[in-house]
Point group: C2
Chain length 402, copies 2
């Protein structure tokens, strides 16, 4: 058996970032940036007022109060034409260009407005309330460096730097294949002893959440020819994800199905719970990840391995899920040699500390408990027992709506 | 001035959940559930094997080893027809239906397979390795209760409960209107003293992240007729979000523009930084949120007020952004009467504790600093000074890719 970290490293080592494409800024949110975004201009492009008030010459305001003649008003987008002469002021607003000759802004709360005149009631600090040219960023500055999944804020700064188009990684095309004679789609008749397919729906959502484009293939029966035909139909995919058919003995079914397609496949046992049987390899140009058929195991393995794999194809590092710390809501026994991922609820205790309480039942067949869980408590291989209240690491579920 | 919490409460109180629609399960991810999802069948539908092994009668295995006759093999989806007689076993796999007459599963690791026979090497516990009928959920059980933003796991459990269609809230239609003579779109010529629009792009992404459908209107110049025409064109929207035109004096521009459209509008000053001037009200059927024009203020206000407003339209509670605790990476001075939201980076210290370090510059014009920030450190009104290393509450940025 190999460790969770070793499995992820082997998957990441086998994958490379995909090519790039140009997208409109309006379509760039959540895409992964593939080229630096540099500022095309200074922002602001000139000294501007940080407040509503008056542009003045500080040399005119060495005593208070001072009367100045108002020679104009310059709302944002309508710069004052000309320059301030001694004894003059110009009405400004937040973002207004500072007129020539002015070196200071006095906020309107420190003034009294008269007819064509203003009384300055303070002695301002020279340069007050001015946002200097390039104070946010200077032309040529690298504002966003790849790789980076673009947030709303990132899209905003790319806009403000003058970019209508961005270079991003192509979305990985991920083919999803559920296998099993017992599998029916929701609403379709369920065969005797059968179950309704859930893995392909969960995987479709996880692929989208990670930034991929899912293609859900029809459910394949437990028949080598049908599995081979389904995987063959996935040609053009960057990654093929199967669920089911990865357990003991099942590779007798999958291997002959895929060998004619140029199979190079490893079967692993990963020292983890839930989930253990796992396939990884390559079919022609596509990488292949074989998840367990059990829905809880498939979901946890997708979080631990499929999301990083898609991130790697997007040029991101493909890291392990982030963890935070919480207090154990109950005593946890010493762990065996398999990394465990206990389904848990999260709440705050009286001191405001986060508490992770494991569900009473941890059977890997219980999808309802996984759906209701807030977090997975991580139990390292051979971790010692933990008393209630001790600190544990948890993966918070629900991020990216997974 | 009103507090951040009071402002959010007034917004939420003025909004009601929108109507519902039916969507395919394949389109349900991230939608907000509006009706309970109940189980249409037991899961599993019958007792099934939890492991690969053999179905036996415990009464046959009271001593070890025991030889049993293998009378069949029942892969998942292919139940054994008939019932076990004394001395008989049936080969099973994970998920296989337990044959009639059997009461126990012996895992294959505890057996030796022969020709049409199997040696059971242990004395099994009666009922071992069986997943009982309805052990995951029983027909009629409420699996998902509204309101709930559907995760990948939720979609999976709805599938496994037999649902091909779900009832969800209609997405709020959110019209986005940036105003200002100084505003240009990226790639378009920038007027003298102008800036490139970023708010409408940030808001478009935030609306999508929160679950709304954005409609970005053309930028309106600072002209009452143009603003009125733009807002009039937003009829049919559930919510209109403006940026700019909400500062001191600017309501002289907006109010006359909107009064002919059936305006009922409040102008607030919210005791917060960044952001202070704010509009809220109603134009005909649509609610209207007026954000500050400053991009940093607009983004922070959108996180604090627009996201909860959209959540409320979706039938969700519309809570304040979640906070976690971190240690202050530097000393923080006592706060004044305005709630502050310090842009900060997050890192782990040597003990693994999260540390939030405020950016050296907190000017609300600095979009580059906001884009690079990992978190906002919350400083309550009149909060006392904080020493480096003391615990502070932070809003982690980047959630939902905002």
């Amino acid at each position: 058996m190999i460790s969770v970290d070793a499995a992820r490293e082997r998957i990441l080592a086998a994958l490379s970032p995909l090519g790039t494409e140009t997208v409109s800024l309006a379509a760039a949110w959540q895409r992964v940036l593939a080229a630096p975004v540099t500022a095309r201009m200074d922002k602001p492009g000139t000294d501007v007022s940080a407040m509503d008030g008056y542009a003045v010459r500080a040399a005119d305001c060495t005593a208070a109060p001072t009367q100045l003649r108002v020679v104009g008003s310059a709302p944002a987008g309508h710069p004052f034409v000309g320059a301030l002469a001694p004894g003059e002021a110009v009405r400004l607003f937040t973002g207004s260009v500072l007129p020539g000759g002015a070196d200071t802004v006095v906020i309107q709360e420190d003034t009294d407005e008269g007819d064509d005149a203003v009384e300055i009631r303070i002695v301002p600090r020279t340069g007050a309330h001015i946002r200097p040219r390039a104070g946010d960023f200077a032309a040529g500055a690298i504002l966003l460096a790849p790789p980076r999944r673009l947030t709303a804020r990132d899209v905003g700064i790319a806009a403000s730097a003058g970019h209508a188009w961005l270079t991003v990684r192509r979305r990985p095309r991920v083919a999803i294949l559920a296998t099993g004679d017992e599998i029916a789609l929701p609403g379709d008749p369920v065969p005797a002893g059968g179950v309704v397919s859930s893995n392909s729906f969960v995987l479709d959502a996880i692929v989208r959440a990670a930034g991929g484009d899912p293609v859900t293939l029809p459910v394949a029966p437990d028949d080598p020819a049908a599995i081979g035909a389904a995987v063959g139909a996935a040609r053009g995919a960057d990654l093929i994800v199967t669920s089911g058919g990865a357990s003991v003995g099942a590779h007798d079914l999958v291997r002959p199905a895929l060998e004619p397609l140029g199979l190079s496949l490893d079967f692993w046992k990963i020292a983890m719970r839930p989930g253990k049987p796992f396939m990884f390899g390559r079919v022609g140009e596509a990488a292949l990840i074989g998840l367990p058929g059990n829905p809880v195991s498939a979901t946890v393995c997708a979080i631990l391995f499929l999301v990083p794999a898609i991130e790697r194809l997007l040029g991101l590092p493909g890291e392990a899920p982030a963890t935070i710390r919480a207090r154990a809501g109950g005593a946890l026994p010493a762990n065996d040699h398999r990394a465990d991922h206990l389904r848990a609820s999260l709440a705050r205790d009286g001191e405001g500390d986060l508490v992770a309480t494991p569900a009473a039942r941890q059977d890997s067949s219980q999808m309802a408990i996984l759906a209701a869980a807030d977090a997975l408590i991580l139990r390292a291989p051979n971790a010692p027992a933990v008393a209630q209240g001790e600190v544990v690491d948890v993966i918070v579920l629900g991020g990216r709506d997974i």
